[in-house]
């Protein structure tokens, strides 16, 4: 029940009430009344701070500009060292369009990477990217959830030696509700797409970038410059991540060779979880073959060529139909097995033998 759901509700900003009531309200809203949870919130610097008494609850509500993001975790999973660090800002970004009196809160489960959940997204290469950029990896485990976003053409402003210059760029134009992209919260409409799997999109057409993204859809890594720069990672060496600085770092950074940029990122890892093509050793059921033969040879004597063809064909239809059904099952089985890419697909041979169809991988 700790899926990627979030709810919004409003509180009176000036009369927030007691922490006890708030705690009950949250449990009520999320139907988790019987669980011990830890409530946290994001402060103005993007740090995760706990809410466990009236004081810090009041502080949290008063500091909410424009909204308060509340995070709920199971008591036993809370990693207390997270509080006060930057963990949060890597994962979350606020929506700016919400109205002021709205509060948003989101039960979040990825903070301590519990084992019974699998990642749907991650931010990678934080240490080598300029802080205005974000490299997001979307894991699509052959799952049913669509990637769910759209891209469009647009113009972006770059700092060049000749001053500001308008250049064509690719932007996220739309998020499909319930899609993988939206549920990560790491991508937003109007984010500029800079790279797809380590390859710059500059100079490429919308259709080219579309093709690249779809071709990489099983393991899509996109580097974006978020439209909203408020939730950027603040590095200790710098005072704040201001959007003003971002542009020139864009220009300078892009001259780096791509392989260098992708240093954090194991090629093996990429190879391993992609594209295990499915090979089905087909063939007809052993019992069917003699049947087919007898039919063929017996018909040969009395029926002429074309009607024989029809008979044979119908027989094949039969076999193919059964073959397809089993194939379907295998597909399902495979996709369920494939949920964790790091698991090698070792399948007990007999286990999926159905109608004479064997899978080898």
């Amino acid at each position: 029940q700790f899926g990627a759901e979030f709810r919004r509700f409003s509180l009176d900003r000036y009369k927030p009430g007691k922490f006890e009531d708030f705690y009950k309200l949250i449990l009520h809203i999320h139907h988790i009344a019987n669980l011990e949870v830890m409530i946290g919130y994001a402060d103005v610097h993007g740090d995760l701070l706990p809410i466990n008494n009236d004081d810090n609850f009041f502080k949290a509500v008063s500091s909410a500009h424009p909204l308060l993001r509340v995070f709920i975790q199971r008591q036993d999973e809370v990693d207390y060292s997270n509080f006060g660090t930057n963990t949060l800002s890597r994962k979350k970004k606020a929506l700016v369009t919400l109205r002021n009196d709205n509060l948003r809160r989101r039960p979040h489960i990825n903070i301590s990477m519990p084992h019974d959940f699998r990642p749907v997204s991650s931010i990678i290469d934080v240490d080598i990217l300029p802080e205005t950029h974000r490299r997001v990896r979307l894991y699509r485990h052959g799952c049913e959830k669509p990637l769910g976003f759209y891209i469009r053409d647009g113009t972006s402003v770059r700092v060049t030696p000749h001053g500001l210059e308008k250049v064509p760029g690719i932007f996220i134009s739309r998020m499909v509700p319930g899609g993988l992209a939206e549920s990560t919260g790491l991508l937003a409409v109007n984010d500029e797409v800079l790279e797809v799997n380590g390859i710059e999109v500059a100079g490429k057409t919308l259709d080219q970038v579309t093709d690249m993204m779809i071709a990489n859809s099983h393991n899509l890594i996109i580097t974006v410059k978020p439209a909203n720069q408020r939730n950027n990672i603040i590095r200790s060496s710098r005072m704040s991540g201001s959007s003003g600085q971002s542009t020139d770092s864009t220009a300078s950074h892009h001259s780096l060779p791509t392989s260098h940029v992708l240093q954090n990122f194991h090629p093996d890892e990429m190879e391993s979880d992609e594209e295990a093509d499915i090979v089905i050793e087909g063939g007809l059921e052993p019992q069917h073959i003699p049947k087919l033969h007898s039919l063929t040879s017996s018909s040969l004597s009395r029926i002429n060529g074309s009607s024989l063809g029809h008979r044979l064909q119908r027989d094949l239809v039969l076999n193919n139909n059964s073959g397809r059904e089993s194939n379907g099952n295998i597909h399902k089985l495979l996709s369920s097995l494939k949920t964790d890419p790091r698991h090698s697909l070792v399948i007990p041979r007999g286990g999926i033998e159905e109608d004479g169809t064997v899978i080898t991988l």
Binding site: I151, L206, Q208, S217, L284, R314, N320
Partner: protein
């Protein structure tokens, strides 16, 4: 992940690559798109065609062609050759004049632009003052006369294109000598025609638009004679002896005028409206040609009765009692007559009429009875019916080649036997290395066989599949029927016929086996025909079978076109390829893939629903396989429903808008009054409209899934004798790749030859490979133990290929639109791959195995993949290691039809359509290069022939050709110096080394 992209730093390989690959666009085949002007030099015997895009193309003897392009890309309005020179002048629609010349360079002639010039009037004068309407290159070769809209005739010096202002012939000067009562200033507006006296170069005939014609003496600068036409003038033509000239007019009449020095104002000798008495269209150009027997040839363009034949594009030829109005299939741009240009000859004796129509070139033999057309060796109208597909076969065995030619010659008996009359220049290109066939499939159900061996794409034979089917078209619709007593005596000429009787007849896939002469052709309505070459006419029944690709699956309804109805009983076929088997797919969707194995006598075909295998020896369907995903409604319903579905989706989106409007009304309706609601609605409408307008082009990012539309679409079929089941036994197999990234492999059992008719061919599905990236599979190939692609069927039997290596393990190459992937066989495990789309964002559109030979050594050649991407780039990828060798930009990425039409040859050449009527030929190979290489020699000019400069080009040309070197004052110097430089450089080893070191340093 980038390891495949990084170019190898192996210097040996880099050098070898330079010896193997080289990109050149070599020649344009076919008919120029949108021709706009025609010119002819009787001296060079070269014809020039200008186009609306500013191209100029010169054609002479077959193989002699030149191309130039005006930078401005403006329409070429007029082309005039400078008499007795290798030069020509073009007039563009921006009123600029361009001087081009043919110069020899490196042993071959080249067409180059020398000068450009735009006539400028005095400041403040209207642009019409200098708008050039008529151009006369004077036989002195020193000046051009330019008639303008203002009536002024400017004189421009050659070759500098400088205006000689003192020699301008103004309307005022012309009017001085003409009595005022029948002429005024307006009579001299717009110069329509300028013609030089055939015998006296000091006299020119000036024709003004309003009908006034003046004979002007250049020496004395005065009008010696004037002629008052009552009708608007269109054109003028001198008779050979200069005693008469003829004028043609806007009302469809022509008039003969006598010329004599004693008569200042002449009355017309004869005024005729050839297609009167009812109002006729203008005669825009006329020739009067004298003959020995006294009866002249009068040849003119237009003049048809306005009301009933005003829409015809005609050129009429009148010779005594013979009269024919050649009725062209498209608008006539211009025409010229080839006649004796020997000045000593007494008569014109016309031999041929050359007419340039918008869509084709037609040449009529005027010497043979009945005036038959001449079969042109080039400038073929590829688009006489729209091209729907093409197929190239390299290295045709001589036997098959001769049989196709003989079948074609039987079709061409109505053509004249006259040798091609436009025969200037000398083709010095080496003979084509092999016989190549390009087969084009057309919308009207025909397949055309083109000789694609050399520079001239020449039609050898035309095959029609229409006879097999019952169509509404009347088979007896003869183009050349000439009824008795018909007036005007129209006769259809030309082959351009873009109107298809039935779009279902369209040819979609072609496969020709060059060893056996079997041809498989598949079309739009799911029809697959297998044909055999027969040298005789024959009448026989075509065996007919149906392949139900849906296999009785319920609940599907095909909403597309119906299948074609077949003709019952025997059908008569002319000599050539004659169909003997027809398989019709059910549903009758367009055939998307086709493969023929002539050795096993099997044909495989695929549509958007599935694929089937047919045994054309036993005439029996072996099996069908449905590839359709059950949820794929779009593929099911057929092409027509796609339109419907668009409509449906539009309807849905409107419904959505309406619904949201209703809900918004509800929301507001609670408190507001009616007007408020209305207002809100109006606002909503506006918003919705704005939203629709502002909605940017966006693309959905979604992984492909099995449920996508058209995943079952069969993209490729491939026969291979390989190790499909186990590594000890190879067997025939059929491979099919779909749009959804699935590869099916079927194991085939083909009975041995002696029992081929007795036992059925059997097939079993052996493998199904689902590529995880689900991209459309566009190519399947099996590599043998030496990593060489398996040979074509019968190739080994004809000793033209080594037998494949069956000892080493085979590999399977699957090319999808997004990546190349090599698998082991028989256990299909991924060995290596090259990702294209993931890295570059481009997709594979066409892929072929091509053999590349080294230009340095004869004994080295290798097989590589030639790939065309959706961005129009061509990439060469090595086999079997899938390393990118080289990449060339070839087609603009916006040119979708160009990319779709591209076809590669087996030896690294290719063709693609640059317009509906033209193929661009390109070459990726250093070794196999077909490009025009020709010389145009200046025929010797008879030195003291100052009266008439039209020297005998035939003799002169022949003489110079025989002697091997004609005098060519143009470019001689340049050539000499160029050669000297070259010589010096090549002899100096130090220089060579220096060049080499700089080249290497640069890298």
């Amino acid at each position: 992940m980038r390891r495949f992209l990084r170019p190898g730093h192996d210097p040996v390989r880099e050098r070898l690559k330079r010896d193997l690959f080289q990109f050149n666009k070599t020649v344009e085949h076919g008919f120029p798109h949108q021709p706009s002007a025609l010119g002819y030099s009787p001296f060079l015997r070269l014809m020039a065609i200008g186009t609306r895009s500013g191209a100029i193309k010169l054609y002479g003897a077959p193989g002699v062609e030149f191309m130039g392009l005006h930078e401005e890309n403006n329409t070429v309005m007029q082309i005039h050759f400078i008499p007795d020179q290798c030069q020509l002048v073009t007039l563009l629609d921006d009123n600029s004049l361009h001087l081009w010349s043919l110069k020899q360079h490196g042993g071959a002639s080249e067409l180059r632009e020398e000068h450009r010039f735009t006539l400028k009037g005095p400041p403040g004068s209207p642009p019409s003052a200098t708008q050039v309407t008529a151009v006369l290159p004077h036989s002195s070769r020193e000046v051009l006369y330019l008639g303008t809209e203002s009536g002024n005739i400017f004189v421009v010096e050659l070759p500098s294109l400088r205006v000689l202002e003192d020699r301008t012939i103004t309307p005022e000067a012309v009017l001085q000598r003409i009595p005022e009562d029948n002429c005024n200033r307006r009579s001299c507006e717009l110069v329509e025609a300028l013609q030089e006296h055939p015998k006296n170069p000091d006299q020119i005939l000036i024709g003004y638009s309003r009908g006034l014609i003046v004979l002007w003496d250049l020496q004395n600068n005065k009008a010696t004679q004037h002629f008052l036409g009552s009708q608007q003038l269109e054109n003028l033509y001198w008779q050979r002896d200069g005693s008469k000239f003829i004028s043609c007019h806007y009302d469809g009449s022509y008039t003969q005028w006598p010329v004599s020095s004693d008569n200042r104002q002449s009355e017309p000798l004869e005024n005729t409206v050839p297609y009167g008495p009812f109002p006729c269209k203008a005669i825009s150009k006329i020739y009067w040609q004298t003959t020995k027997n006294g009866l002249p040839y009068i040849i003119f363009q237009g003049g048809m009765p306005r009301a009933s034949y005003g829409d015809r594009h005609s050129i009429s030829v009148i010779h005594g009692s013979q009269q024919t109005a050649f009725d062209f299939t498209s608008r006539v741009i211009d025409f010229f007559i080839i006649f004796s240009s020997d000045p000593a000859a007494e008569f014109d004796d016309p031999s041929a009429l050359v007419a340039l129509a918008e869509e084709e070139l037609v040449v009529i033999d005027l010497k043979s009875a009945g005036w038959p057309a001449v079969h042109p060796p080039y400038l073929a109208s590829l688009h006489c019916s729209a091209i729907t597909c093409s197929h190239h076969v390299s290295n045709i065995p001589l036997k098959l080649w001769e049989r196709i030619i003989s079948a074609g010659s039987k079709q061409n008996i109505h053509y004249s036997s006259m040798p091609w009359p436009i025969d200037g220049g000398t083709n010095i290109a080496p003979d084509p290395p092999q016989r190549d066939l390009l087969l084009t499939g057309h919308e009207d159900g025909t397949v055309r066989f083109w000789d694609a061996s050399g520079v001239c794409l020449h039609l050898l034979y035309k095959l029609s599949t229409v006879r097999v089917f019952l169509t509404d078209a009347d088979p007896n619709d003869n183009m050349n029927t000439l009824g008795e007593d018909e007036w005007p005596p129209l006769r259809k000429v030309g082959t351009f016929d873009p109107y298809s009787d039935d779009p279902r007849l369209g040819i979609q896939k072609i496969y020709l086996c060059k060893y056996s002469g079997y041809l498989a052709v598949a079309g739009t309505a799911g029809q697959v025909l297998v044909m055999e070459l027969n040298d005789e006419d024959a009448e026989h029944v075509v065996d007919h079978a149906e392949a139900d690709l849906l296999q009785d699956q319920e609940g599907y309804r095909w909403k597309g076109h119906e299948k074609l109805k077949t003709r019952d009983g025997p059908v008569r076929f002319e000599a050539g390829f004659q169909p003997f088997v027809l398989v019709q797919c059910q549903p009758p969707a367009v055939v998307t893939s086709l493969a023929l194995h002539s050795e096993w006598r099997l044909v495989a075909f695929g549509t958007s629903h599935g694929f089937g295998l047919f045994d054309h020896q036993q005439k029996r369907l072996v099996f069908v396989k449905c590839t359709l995903h059950p949820s794929d409604q779009l593929a099911l319903e057929g092409p027509l429903s796609r339109v419907k579905s668009l409509k449906k989706s539009l309807r849905q989106s409107f419904r959505r808008i309406r619904r949201s409007r209703v809900s918004s009304r509800k929301r507001r309706g609670a408190g507001g009054n009616a007007s408020e609601v209305q207002e809100a609605n109006a606002k909503f409408d506006q918003d919705a409209l704005q939203e629709m307008e502002l909605a940017p082009v966006q693309r959905k990012i979604e992984a492909r899934s099995a449920e996508d539309s058209f995943t079952g679409f069969v993209r490729t079929l491939y026969f291979a004798d390989t190790f499909l089941r186990d590594s000890s036994r190879h067997c025939p197999s059929l491979w099919a790749g779909t749009n959804g990234g699935t590869v099916y492999a079927f194991c085939l059992r083909v009975p041995p030859a002696e029992r081929r008719m007795d036992e059925p061919v059997r097939a079993e599905q052996a493998k199904e490979i689902q590529l995880m990236h689900r991209a459309p599979v566009v190519g399947i190939l099996v590599l043998d133990g030496r990593s060489t692609p398996l040979p074509e069927p019968l190739e080994v039997a004809h000793d033209l290929s080594k037998s494949p290596d069956m000892q080493g393990s085979h590999q399977l190459l699957v090319v999808s639109e997004e990546q190349f992937k090599v698998f082991t066989l028989p256990k299909v495990s991924s060995k290596l791959k090259l990702k294209l789309t993931a890295l570059e964002g481009c997709r594979v559109r066409k892929v072929t195995v091509a053999s590349f030979g080294s230009c340095k050594t004869d004994d080295y050649s290798e097989n590589d993949l030639a790939v065309l991407t959706n961005l129009g780039d061509i990439q060469i990828i090595s086999l079997p290691f899938l390393k990118l060798q080289i990449r060339y930009p070839c087609i603009r990425k916006e040119d979708v039809s160009g990319i779709a039409s591209c076809v590669f040859t087996k030896y690294g050449q290719g063709f693609y359509l640059i317009s509906p009527s033209e193929f661009e030929r390109f070459s990726l190979s250093t070794k196999w290069l077909v490009e025009p290489r020709c010389i145009v020699d200046m025929p010797e000019v008879t030195s003291n022939n100052h009266v008439h400069n039209k020297s005998g080009p035939e003799n002169a040309a022949r003489k110079s050709r025989e002697s091997g070197k004609g005098p060519d004052d143009c470019g001689e110097d340049e050539r000499k110096s160029g050669r000297l430089m070259e010589h010096a450089l090549l002899n100096d080893e130090k220089v060579l080394k220096e060049i080499q070191s700089t080249l290497e340093g640069g890298r």
